[in-house]
């Protein structure tokens, strides 16, 4: 989002900045092999402690928050400086897990919509490596219909009292503050009665638990709000204008996921699950690398992965030159889901029994670890659900890109307290 960018406040050229960063990184940050990086597991607290420590070093060295304004702890430089830094930091350990959602979504949204105090306090604390931010949007009552949230914020004197539940909050257990969307007026249509709050997660009235996924991952959290008290200073933007804030969040999320955010520092894959399955390696490990059928299967998956990268590039260019509308990013989202399904299915097909029975032994060391393929298969659909389902993506593409008629919204224009909800 260019309108959130501040003008360059330096006389140092990008090249000089990059040169200074190169020297500083070599002296201050741990070096890594970019082709075999140490991955951080988001579900583990130690990953977050490490990320904060690395972020502190960046801050102390004067290389944190490159594109955030100076008055909020950043450097106030434009994207070119961040891109140059990204190129320099490839061979160093970076606090990559702070990019999403802390910097690219939450801090970016606070910068767009927050009060002066929120910007000054939260953004600078994140840049210093003191605080982590998260999003509290989805609810157990429904995923795709985000504006249909039923967590309620009620006025009591000069306080807001929050009751309800949120779910699928990325890394919320590690976070200090969260952006929480709640309903403040039930007598108006659903988008018009929402308010965004910035919530300290250690406040009384919040119970958090980890969600355990089928693959064992425990990164996501569910939170219950039971009489949580907030002041007016917690409101982000205006009361009953929370949907505007949420829209900014979704905008920043799409840009971040596509790798197009100026607020991300470092662009490498942050963990092993972002790495595609190694189909060639699997074919070799199972002794099938000479089988034309397996070569066809694996080749198809390899092709699809390359096409995905080409599509990302094509969509970015096309949005840039106006030949595709801005929400064409949804094409990437859907293609990613489709590609992940193919890659995971192909890996399972090649792994055969070794993907579902642990066949590894001293005599068959190459088969060790292949059951990971089967475990990954069990949570195959996460790529088609996270960040909006593939079905929602198809609605967006057909309606907003192709101009097909919109789906009937039975809640349109109707006071939210009259809208039909889940049968308990």
């Amino acid at each position: 989002m260019t309108d959130t960018m501040t003008s360059t406040e330096t006389t140092e050229s990008v090249a000089d900045f990059a040169a200074r960063a190169r020297t500083w990184l070599a002296e201050n940050m741990p070096s890594i092999d970019p082709d075999d990086p140490p991955f951080s597991v988001r579900a583990e607290q130690s990953s977050w402690d490490r990320a904060k420590e690395l972020q502190k070093r960046l801050y102390e060295g004067g290389f944190a928050g490159i594109c955030f304004p100076r008055e909020y702890g950043g450097l106030g430089l434009d994207h070119a400086y961040q891109k140059a830094f990204n190129a320099e930091c490839r061979c160093y350990e970076m606090p990559l897990i702070l990019n999403v959602p802390t910097f690219t979504i939450c801090a970016a949204t606070i910068l767009d919509m927050g009060s002066e105090a929120q910007k000054r306090d939260r953004i600078s604390a994140a840049i210093r490596g003191d605080e982590i931010l998260c999003q509290l949007l989805s609810e157990p009552s429904g995923g795709s219909d985000l504006a249909g949230v039923i967590t309620r914020a009620e006025r009591n004197g000069d306080k807001w009292i929050i009751n309800g539940a949120k779910t699928w909050s990325t890394s919320a257990f590690a976070a200090d503050y969260g952006l929480l969307l709640a309903r403040t007026d039930w007598t108006v249509p659903k988008h018009e009665g929402l308010t965004m709050f910035l919530v300290p997660l250690n406040a009384p009235g919040i119970t958090m638990r980890r969600i355990k996924e089928v693959n064992g991952n425990e990164e996501f959290c569910e939170e219950f709000f039971d009489g949580l008290e907030l002041g007016d200073d917690a409101v982000v933007g205006e009361v009953n204008k929370g949907w505007e804030v949420a829209t900014r969040q979704l905008h920043h999320e799409r840009r971040a996921v596509g790798g197009g955010s100026e607020f991300a520092s470092g662009t490498a894959a942050e963990n092993a699950s972002e790495m595609p399955p190694d189909h060639v390696g699997l074919a070799r490990a199972t002794g099938q690398d000479g089988d034309p059928r397996v070569q066809d299967l694996a080749g198809r998956a390899l092709v699809r992965r390359i096409v995905k990268e080409q599509l990302i590039d094509h969509v970015f260019r096309s949005i840039g030159n106006g030949s595709l509308p801005p929400n064409a990013g949804t094409l990437i989202r859907l293609f990613h889901a489709e590609t992940t399904e193919l890659e995971v299915d192909t890996a399972l097909a090649i792994a055969g029994t070794a993907g579902v029975v642990d066949e590894g032994s001293d005599d068959a060391p190459r088969l060790t670890g292949l059951m990971d393929v089967g475990v990954r298969y069990l949570s195959r659909q996460t790529g088609s659900l996270g960040g909006g389902s593939s079905e929602m993506a198809r609605n967006v593409i057909s309606e907003r890109i192709l101009g097909f008629p919109r789906e009937l919204a039975a809640d349109k224009g109707i006071p939210f307290n009259q809208v039909k909800r889940n049968k308990c």
């Binding site: 060639v280 390696g281 690398d289 034309p292 070569q295 066809d296 299967l297 694996a298 080749g299 198809r300 390899l302 092709v303 699809r304 390359i306 096409v307 995905k308 080409q310 599509l311 590039d313 094509h314 969509v315 260019r317 096309s318 030159n321 595709l324 064409a328 094409l331 859907l334 293609f335 489709e338 079905e391 993506a393 198809r394 609605n395 967006v396 593409i397 057909s398 309606e399 890109i401 192709l402 097909f404 008629p405 789906e407």
Partner: protein, 377 residues
């Protein structure tokens, strides 16, 4: 295919106007009805627009408006796809792509191809064998004044309308290419039909065909690279033309979904159909993206070009027939009639799916190239 300069835009619009006026679907049906593949004078007019000069350097009488002949050629192919136009753009371009790599002694042939006077084609396939351009059972042997050729080639595009063919043959254990006129003794050309309404192929037999020293194109050392360049041009042309086909067919199908009403509402309002249109839009943009990637790699002579043309062919030729059939389905019964134009497009796409390597072949090619990379890493 990407952002164009004013000269490219002019070239594109001239090409488009020419195709709309002189190569519409009605023309294609007319040619088919009269059993004609293309009219030579039509091809000469196309050549006058510059279609055959794009891969040829200026010093050999060619040139392209943008200086990027491969991109311009892909643009022409994409436009051709809009009406599945006739003509020997593919065979002529493939032969020229080879000749300009080793032009010595072939200057006149290049000039005649650029002007459209001569049509030539790549004789690379052999009967009952898959596409394997560096394996030839056709034999060349040295004679006093040149070479003698013996063997059979088939699936030679526009073979019956060619004045010359570029023949892949084995000479002294190495693969070589020879430019052979089709009207000399010992050459027998037999037409082969295809599912396409206007694209024709031919079996070309060489029985003790004598050619001069100058018939050879490139040395034994140069030939594998020249053949690879020709293969890349062939695949890029196919992919670009299929992108044009998809563009036209999706526009036609989406319009149909808006116009056609059932149960009092447009088909476009049914979510089950909207989702299929969304998938097809995504696959179309992916086809365009991977084709553009292949075009750039071939234009830049990137080391990745062998892989990226296979990636593009594998993806585009796997997806496009599925999309075409789905468009038939979305049209309903009208889609399987001769009267409706969909089958003209389906024919071309089915043809290209198989020619110069199927998606399955290219999957294996990409596997082999990725496997090499991993072994070297």
């Amino acid at each position: 295919m990407t952002t164009a300069n004013p000269e490219q835009l002019l070239f594109a619009s001239t090409t488009q106007t020419f195709l709309e006026k002189q190569a519409s679907l009605t023309h294609v049906r007319g040619l088919h009805a009269s059993g004609v593949s293309f009219q030579p004078e039509w091809w000469q007019r196309a050549a006058e627009l510059g279609w055959a000069s794009l891969l040829v350097p200026e010093e050999l009488g060619g040139g392209s408006v943008s200086g990027d002949g491969v991109a311009d050629l892909a643009m022409v192919a994409e436009q051709i796809g809009h009406t599945v136009a006739p003509g020997p753009l593919h065979p002529v371009s493939i032969v020229l792509a080879g000749l300009v790599e080793a032009p010595g002694g072939h200057e006149q042939t290049i000039e005649a191809l650029v002007s459209g006077e001569l049509v030539a084609s790549w004789a690379v396939y052999e009967p009952a064998r898959p596409f394997a351009p560096l394996l030839a059972a056709t034999k060349a042997t040295r004679t006093d004044g040149g070479y003698r050729l013996d063997g059979v080639k088939d699936r030679v595009e526009a073979g019956a309308d060619c004045g010359a063919v570029l023949v892949v043959a084995e000479l002294d254990g190495a693969v070589r290419q020879f430019l052979v006129p089709t009207d000399i003794p010992g050459v027998t050309v037999t037409a082969q039909d295809s599912v396409d309404l206007v694209k024709r192929y031919a079996r070309v037999r060489f029985d003790g065909v004598e050619v001069g020293e100058s018939a050879a194109v490139g040395t034994a050392e140069q030939t594998p690279d020249i053949v690879e360049r020709q293969r890349q041009i062939a695949l890029v042309l196919q992919c670009a033309e299929i992108v044009g086909v998809l563009d036209a067919v999706l526009a036609m199908t989406n319009q149909w979904l808006f116009d056609r009403h059932s149960f009092g509402r447009p088909l476009a309002s049914y979510q089950a159909l909207k989702h299929r249109a969304a998938d097809m839009k995504m696959w179309f943009e992916a086809a365009r993206a991977t084709t553009a990637g292949a075009v750039r790699a071939v234009a830049d002579r990137s080391p990745d070009a062998p892989k990226l043309v296979s990636v593009a062919k594998a993806y585009v030729a796997e997806r496009a027939p599925v999309m075409l059939q789905d468009c038939v389905q979305l049209h309903g019964g009208i889609g399987v009639t001769w009267e409706h134009d969909l089958h003209l497009f389906l024919r071309r796409v089915a043809l290209y799916r198989a020619m110069f390597g199927s998606p399955e072949d290219h999957h294996r090619a990409v596997y082999a190239l990725s496997s090499e990379t991993e072994a070297n890493a």
